[in-house]
């Protein structure tokens, strides 16, 4: 590991510890929901990082189709994998939060439904990669599907803003009068949320970089093996 990578990793670990401490020790207890509301900081941060990962996957996909450079495909692939892990965490933390607040682990609310659709779309993306043998075709198809898949991301974002939903909108106004679990952010809550968002974004970047390097190493190894076979 190079020096700048060690600094990057160290800063991420430090910020993650700081953000976690802030969630439990600095952020105030929410009046109506109590301590369970603290899961909000993990929920929103993982959701944000997950969707950021899919945006990176989209950029990688477009860049691959323009340049046909394997690096962009590797980046896009890494972003989808990391994004899926983060979005899974967002869904699980959301479900844990829903149980005491909505009295159910799951409901087919527009926001939950569209988030699940996005999750399944990117899972299908991995299955597609797995079903194609030729590396070039795999990269091309994966890039195309990553572009099509991203169409579901704005739908997920807009679903809680345009449709009747019980999912709260913490940032910005909600059109739904049925939102349950809505709460106002105090300054300390905002500080904790911003710190969490930064820490999780950094964690995402580290995970992305590591997965990208593993993918590169794997493909380089395959190239060496193929060259050795030919020789």
């Amino acid at each position: 590991m190079r020096a700048w990578e060690r600094i990057w990793l160290g800063a991420t670990i430090a910020l993650m510890i700081l953000a976690t401490l802030a969630v439990f020790l600095y952020a105030p207890r929410e009046a109506k929901m109590g301590d369970v509301q603290r899961i909000f900081y993990f929920h929103i941060s993982t959701a944000w990082s997950g969707f950021l990962a899919f945006a990176v996957a989209l950029i990688g996909a477009i860049a691959y189709l323009r340049t046909r450079s394997a690096r962009w495909d590797q980046l896009s692939h890494a972003a989808v994998e990391v994004g899926l892990v983060l979005l899974t965490m967002a869904i699980v933390t959301g479900s844990l939060w829903a149980r005491p607040v909505w009295n159910t682990w799951w409901t087919w609310d527009p926001r939950l439904t569209t988030t699940t659709i996005t999750w399944v779309v990117y899972l299908a993306h991995l299955l597609l990669r797995n079903a194609v043998e030729n590396p070039e075709t795999r990269a091309r198809f994966a890039a195309v599907y990553a572009i099509v898949a991203f169409v579901t991301v704005p739908i997920t974002y807009l679903s809680a803003r345009l449709l009747r939903t019980i999912h709260p909108i913490v940032l910005g106004p909600s059109v739904s009068s049925e939102a349950q679990g809505q709460f106002g952010l105090t300054p300390r809550m905002v500080h904790t949320m911003v710190l969490s968002l930064i820490a999780w974004t950094l964690l995402f970047s580290v995970l992305l970089w590591m997965r990208y390097r593993v993918q590169r190493a794997q493909e380089t190894l395959e190239g060496i093996e193929a060259a050795a076979e030919e020789a």
């Binding site: 299908a124 079903a131 198809f141 195309v144 099509v148 193929a226 030919e230």
Partner: protein, 497 residues
């Protein structure tokens, strides 16, 4: 003139072609020879724009590939491993279809003349299904004969031909070269290469030798293949080698072929004519698919049977009261649309690929999104027909009238959106290992917002909620447009290898 400049092609880490360069002049026939796996077919597919070279360029008449695949494609005719023929069309219909799809001039009697030339005049109206392998190959050659393209690429065109057919095919190629076409023909039997003006030998993806056919008799080729050369060799012993005109370090054999460039006939390349070419190609695609479906009923009949069975099972399983039917029937219809789309479109695309005709479609000159439009239109029509007939049956089974303009509008929009995205995803899924199994996995989550909006909108109409219908209609239109635009834009990337 066809110029291949330092063409290299890698499939992942494996190099199949390495810096292959040569030029074919108008009126010249070049035989491409090499052992199995030498890269002959790959080279022809690169030259025909079916594969993108990893490095190097193909140049024909001012167009270079990459990037200008459409420009090069407009000047090339490829006869591939597969004959690209539709078994349910007659010989004449097959030729007419490709004539229109590729925008070739529709001169009266041209099709009849090409069939006559290949000895198939008396079978012109017979379905191709009953043709022998040799007759299929003759018909494929008749298509090449019909083509006005200045460059002809043929991959093992003598496969399946008897002695007479082989001689006729060689004469046809010589005749085409005599008209100024540049012809490249991949062969494996050196005995059949003597009609060529020049032989180019590939071994291990490298151009290792080129020269007059007389220098490449069986024994010489065997030695060449076994040697597994890594550099070009001179075969014509004692003849002075000269630098090739392509440059680089390659050597060209002393040739005495008597070939002189022949000016190509003054027929304009297919892609350059008229703005109506795209429309004519679109019509050809629709005509072909609908005619085949009308004759074979490969997709529509199973889909209608599936719809009927589903209606029956759904009806008997739930015994829905009218109030419950209003809530559940929309779910049934939109799920039916989704499944019909996956099964029907998947089957149609799989048929194209199994017959090997998909590559023939990809050779369409110009923008390949034309194929997307044509296929999506056919698929949309098919889905529309299934839904309309199912709606009529639903009135009987559920005692519920669904002939509401609002519902029909939603279903029409759904069919349009689904046909577009399914066409794109089917083109990908059918080229993978999982094929039909993968298509619903790719399609269902992407189409889910569209289906949900459709279900909610239909339900809103049945429950007399026009405001609710309006909201879901807007969502459906927005998602439809977004999905259709994205799929249209990326289709070329799916089909351009």
């Amino acid at each position: 003139m066809l110029q291949l400049e330092r063409i290299s092609k890698a499939f992942g880490p494996r190099w199949v072609l390495r810096e292959v360069s040569f030029t074919v002049h108008p009126g010249e026939i070049v035989a491409l020879m090499g052992p199995n796996g030498a890269g002959k077919s790959t080279l022809l597919r690169v030259a025909a724009t079916l594969l993108r070279p990893t490095a190097g360029q193909v140049r024909i008449g001012g167009s270079s590939w990459p990037p200008d695949g459409a420009g090069v494609r407009a000047q090339v005719t490829l006869l591939g491993h597969q004959p690209w023929l539709y078994p349910d069309l007659s010989a004449e219909e097959n030729l007419r279809f490709y004539q229109r799809l590729y925008g070739w001039p529709e001169e009266p009697g041209a099709i009849e003349a090409s069939l006559e030339r290949m000895g198939l005049a008396d079978r012109a109206r017979d379905p191709v299904r009953g043709f022998s392998r040799g007759m299929l190959q003759r018909l494929a050659l008749a298509r090449a004969f019909l083509s006005p393209a200045p460059v002809l690429l043929l991959d093992e065109p003598f496969t399946g031909l008897d002695v007479l057919g082989l001689e006729e095919a060689r004469e046809v190629l010589q005749e085409l070269a005599g008209r100024g076409r540049a012809v490249v023909v991949a062969l494996h039997d050196p005995a059949t290469a003597d009609f060529a003006h020049r032989v180019v030998v590939l071994v291990g993806g490298r151009l290792v030798a080129e020269g007059a056919p007389v220098a490449f008799q069986e024994k010489a080729l065997q030695e060449l293949y076994q040697a597994g050369m890594t550099h070009r060799h001179r075969l014509a012993a004692g003849r002075p080698a000269r630098r090739s005109e392509e440059g680089g370090s390659s050597l060209r054999m002393g040739l005495s072929t008597g070939v002189h460039p022949v000016p190509a006939e003054s027929r304009s390349p297919p892609g350059a004519r008229g703005q109506g070419r795209g429309l004519r190609a679109l019509q050809a695609l629709l005509w072909k698919d609908l005619r085949i479906e009308g004759r074979a009923r490969e997709t529509l009949t199973p889909l209608l049977t599936l719809a009927g069975l589903s209606l029956f099972l759904f009806g008997t399983a739930f015994e829905l009261r009218p109030d419950l039917a209003r809530s559940f029937v929309p779910v049934f219809f939109w799920m039916l649309l989704l499944f019909a789309s996956s099964l029907g479109v998947g089957r149609m695309m799989a048929s194209e690929m199994d017959r090997g005709t998909w590559e023939g479609l990809l050779m369409v000159p110009g923008d390949r999104s034309l194929l997307f439009a044509g296929k999506a239109m056919v698929h949309g029509l098919l889905l529309g027909l299934v839904i309309l007939l199912s709606l009529a049956a639903a009135g009987v089974f559920f005692n519920l009238s669904l002939w509401d303009p609002g519902i029909l509008l939603l279903l029409a929009l759904g069919a349009i959106g689904l046909s577009g995205v399914t066409t794109l995803l089917a083109a990908m899924a059918m080229a993978t290992r999982a094929r039909e199994l993968l298509l619903p996995i790719l399609l269902f989550p992407v189409a889910a917002p569209l289906v949900i909006a459709g279900i909610q909108g239909t339900r809103a109409i049945l429950e007399a909620d026009p405001a609710g219908w309006s909201v879901w209609l807007q969502m459906l239109i927005a998602y439809d447009l977004l999905l259709f635009a994205v799929t249209w834009m990326v289709f070329e990337e799916v089909v351009s290898a």
